[in-house]
């Protein structure tokens, strides 16, 4: 498939085998920012988190209420579709399982659409955000999540490319059918598994 590029040697960093998904590189200590919209201004008094759609009890948490939920942390790697991966990140927040347990998904719920305060959306199969695989987070390395990186609150789904981890998340809507989100209608893959290199439509 891939043709050799004349004269290209590359600058490989030593890697633990199996840690870097195909086509990714280790960005080291940098954390590039990639978003499509203006970084929104945030007033904690205005922000809420809602789980609605196909649930028994549509539920909304205030900034204070969500932080009072049982906390949970992710420690591990993240992978961006623009080919950088960042190792050993540490995010703190609440497991999506806790939010879903409060709202009670109905048997027909199979997908989730995450919506941000900016109107950004991304879609996921429900199975990709349940069972300890997804978080709603507000700290990074023990500090408040920076605004440019989705602060105050972002979704975190680290086993998929990072555009699925919607910045400035404010709503999770459970759906019966898949509904493509922002990047998904703009040429990107519907699921985005970095280990299968599902970057763009057709991968």
């Amino acid at each position: 498939m891939a043709k050799v590029t004349r004269g290209f040697v590359g600058r490989r960093r030593p890697q633990q085998p199996g840690r870097l998904p195909p086509g990714q590189y280790d960005v080291g200590r940098d954390w590039p920012v990639l978003t499509a919209e203006i970084t929104p201004r945030f007033d904690p008094d205005d922000w809420t988190m809602t789980v609605d759609g196909l649930v028994e009890r549509p539920t909304t948490w205030s900034w204070e209420e969500i932080q009072a939920l049982p906390g949970s942390e992710y420690r591990g790697d993240i992978h961006c579709v623009t080919t950088w991966s960042k190792f050993d990140t540490r995010f703190g927040g609440v497991s999506v399982d806790v939010l879903l347990e409060a709202a009670g998904p109905t048997p027909g719920a199979a997908y989730v659409l995450a919506t941000s305060t900016t109107g950004y959306t991304t879609n996921l199969p429900l199975s990709d955000v349940t069972g300890g695989k997804a978080w709603v987070v507000w700290t990074y390395d023990g500090r408040p999540l920076p605004r440019d990186h989705g602060g105050p609150v972002r979704l975190l789904v680290p086993h998929l490319y990072f555009w699925k981890s919607a910045k400035w998340v404010t709503r999770l809507t459970l759906l019966e059918r898949d509904r493509p989100g922002f990047w998904e209608v703009n040429g990107y893959h519907d699921r985005g598994d970095p280990w299968l290199e599902q970057r763009y439509q057709g991968d």
């Binding site: 891939a2 043709k3 050799v4 590029t5 004349r6 004269g7 290209f8 040697v9 590359g10 600058r11 490989r12 086509g23 590189y25 960005v27 940098d30 590039p32 920012v33 990639l34 978003t35 499509a36 919209e37 203006i38 970084t39 929104p40 201004r41 205005d46 623009t82 080919t83 950088w84 305060t117 900016t118 109107g119 950004y120 959306t121 440019d148 922002f182 990047w183 209608v185 703009n186 040429g187 763009y200 439509q201 057709g202």
Partner: protein
């Protein structure tokens, strides 16, 4: 709460892997390379879209990076203007090794959001090589016979580092480290943006630059009362 910014769906072309033959290599300044490539039967892009470049070593190791297209859709060749980062893996290869006649693996065009089809007025706000996709828009507007459709404000560190100085005509140029035409050296300010925005009320605003530049420009636009829903942002990080 902000106006929802990004709720439209994209209708932009999208292309797969292809081979680009390098036809021209130029070094507009020591930190940049301009490449012009011929791609047989390429998918026509819209200004603002990008391509992924994939370099492959003898042992199969690959490195990929995305670069915005600088050429207009009507250009028979695809043009890219790449900033050379000293610690960059791909940009150093493109700047130091690539010669006319080389073949490069490309994938594109990609991206359905930061695109402009020339059907409505637009304002571009660029930092450094963030100007590249806006150059494609300026050229496209010229090709359409509607150079009035787009206005650009571009910030660079020095005159020498300003990309495409010859194509900027009467666009707004500011330099952060040198005075220019009576404007003192300094970062992008509301006073640089206001006259351009006033000339194009309601126009879509395309912001492209580093994360720091895009954040600052976004804040200025909000201060100036531009609805977030009119602004499309493309940020780039140190991705070499």
């Amino acid at each position: 709460m902000d106006t929802p910014a990004i709720t439209e769906t994209g209708e932009a072309p999208s292309g797969g892997w292809c081979t680009g033959v390098v036809r021209e290599v130029r070094h507009p300044n020591p930190d940049a390379v301009l490449l012009r490539l011929e791609v047989d039967g390429r998918t026509q892009h819209l200004p603002g879209q990008h391509y992924v470049f994939r370099l492959t070593a003898e042992d199969g190791y690959t490195a990929s990076r995305s670069y915005s297209v600088a050429s207009s859709p009507a250009d028979p060749l695809l043009e890219f203007y790449v900033e050379r980062l000293d610690d960059g893996e791909v940009s150093t290869h493109l700047a130091d090794v690539v010669e006319p006649g080389d073949e490069l693996e490309l994938r594109g065009p990609i991206g359905g959001w930061f695109v402009w089809d020339g059907s409505a007025p637009a304002v571009g706000v660029a930092g450094g090589t963030g100007l590249v996709p806006l150059v494609a828009m300026l050229r496209h507007a010229r090709d359409l016979g509607r150079p009035d459709l787009i206005s650009v404000v571009v910030s660079a560190r020095t005159r020498a580092e300003l990309p495409y100085p010859d194509e900027l005509g009467d666009q707004t140029v500011l330099l952060t480290r040198e005075a220019l035409d009576g404007r003192a050296a300094g970062r992008l300010a509301a006073a640089d943006l206001a006259p351009v925005l006033d000339r194009s009320p309601g126009a879509a605003v395309y912001v492209c630059g580093s994360a720091g530049f895009a954040a600052a420009a976004g804040d200025l636009l909000m201060d100036l009362g531009v609805p977030a829903g009119l602004v499309r942002v493309e940020r780039f990080g140190p991705t070499g």
